[in-house]
Symmetry: C2
């Protein structure tokens, strides 16, 4: 099956959404925890995380103009902080439920049954059930005029991972951590190792 | 194990690179095909693809300031076209080898043993061995001053996927397509379905 631009434009809206959301392959799946300046917690599920650099440690994610993500963006801009939390098989259904539309001010933690966890002076809640947790500071936002989305760029200022998931070279063993990945907006997977390869060199 | 900003800064460079590159979870893995205005093919491996929107179909990826990616960025700016090709278990080692440094003008297709495939007037080569192929037109680049990286934003103008990987709702079945995902810069995985969940609604 193949599609060109004209074919894509003619597709039914949800069909096209499912196709384009899944065609790029497996995605990072993270629960994003934020808090409003009034102290209301918000938890949202994102699959648009991307690595920007390791020194300083920086990452990006795309925030859609849709209603359900306004709280995340608004809270990040208010407090400057957000958390990124891995999803495990034991609570992926609760993570998915965070994509439902709840009224502003309602805590998804409470509604889906996950536990907010606070650390020091960090102004955003982590997910207690997540074994791998990241704390980020807002750096910059970039608006994409073409479709009204916004890229949030952040600096990773805190990391936590189980000792038995940390390899000697600093890599996280995502199979051992049972980290969940997703495709599209509704399909969840765990992964199996094919191979860890040596640094690629060109033959002399 | 946990790290704060000060701990991260003290880590050995490669250790920190492995940690930060893998901490965000599984990533989209794509071979990016481009061609210079002189007609030289280039094939590079990227794990920073992210979804931006479905209508119009748009995606982004991060290009590092490093030497080996200069060809990809330069070629995209010259021709306006690039291809994104899924990696399969049968050739993931060849895909990894594309990360080696080859001199400018050398075709990674030839060196690693993959086959360029041309379509109509599209000014970039696809990977014949990839069952899922995407053709993109350059839309915009955004420079991240903080670390010298660049975000390339493109419009998806062509898609190809095997009939037996396309579900009734438009989703691609990435388990059926045997699409490879990666963690960090050197570790490759295939995935297994946990579940495909219904659209999440908040209880009335």
């Amino acid at each position: 099956m193949h599609w060109n631009t004209g074919d894509l434009e003619k597709l039914e809206r949800r069909y096209r959404g499912n196709l384009i959301n899944s065609i790029g392959g497996y995605k990072s799946l993270l629960l994003v925890g934020t808090q409003s300046s009034q102290g209301n917690n918000n938890l949202a599920i994102f699959s648009s995380y991307f690595h920007i650099g390791a020194d300083p440690a920086m990452c990006g994610m795309v925030v859609r103009p849709a209603e359900e993500t306004e709280n995340t963006l608004g809270n990040i801009l208010q407090t400057g902080h957000y958390t990124l939390n891995h999803v495990l098989p034991s609570f992926y259904e609760k993570a998915h439920q965070c994509s439902a539309k709840y009224p502003a001010g309602v805590s998804e933690f409470e509604r889906v049954g996950l536990t907010p966890h606070y650390m020091d002076a960090f102004k955003a809640p982590f997910v207690a059930e997540s074994s791998i947790k990241m704390g980020c500071e807002f750096v910059q936002k970039m608006d994409i005029a073409f479709n009204g989305t916004t890229i949030i760029i952040g600096r990773i200022v805190f990391l936590e991972a189980p000792d038995d998931c940390l390899l000697d070279d600093g890599s996280i063993d995502l199979n051992a951590s049972q980290t969940v990945t997703c495709s599209g907006l509704d399909t969840y997977h765990v992964a199996q190792l094919l191979g860890k390869l040596p640094y690629a060199k060109s033959p002399k």
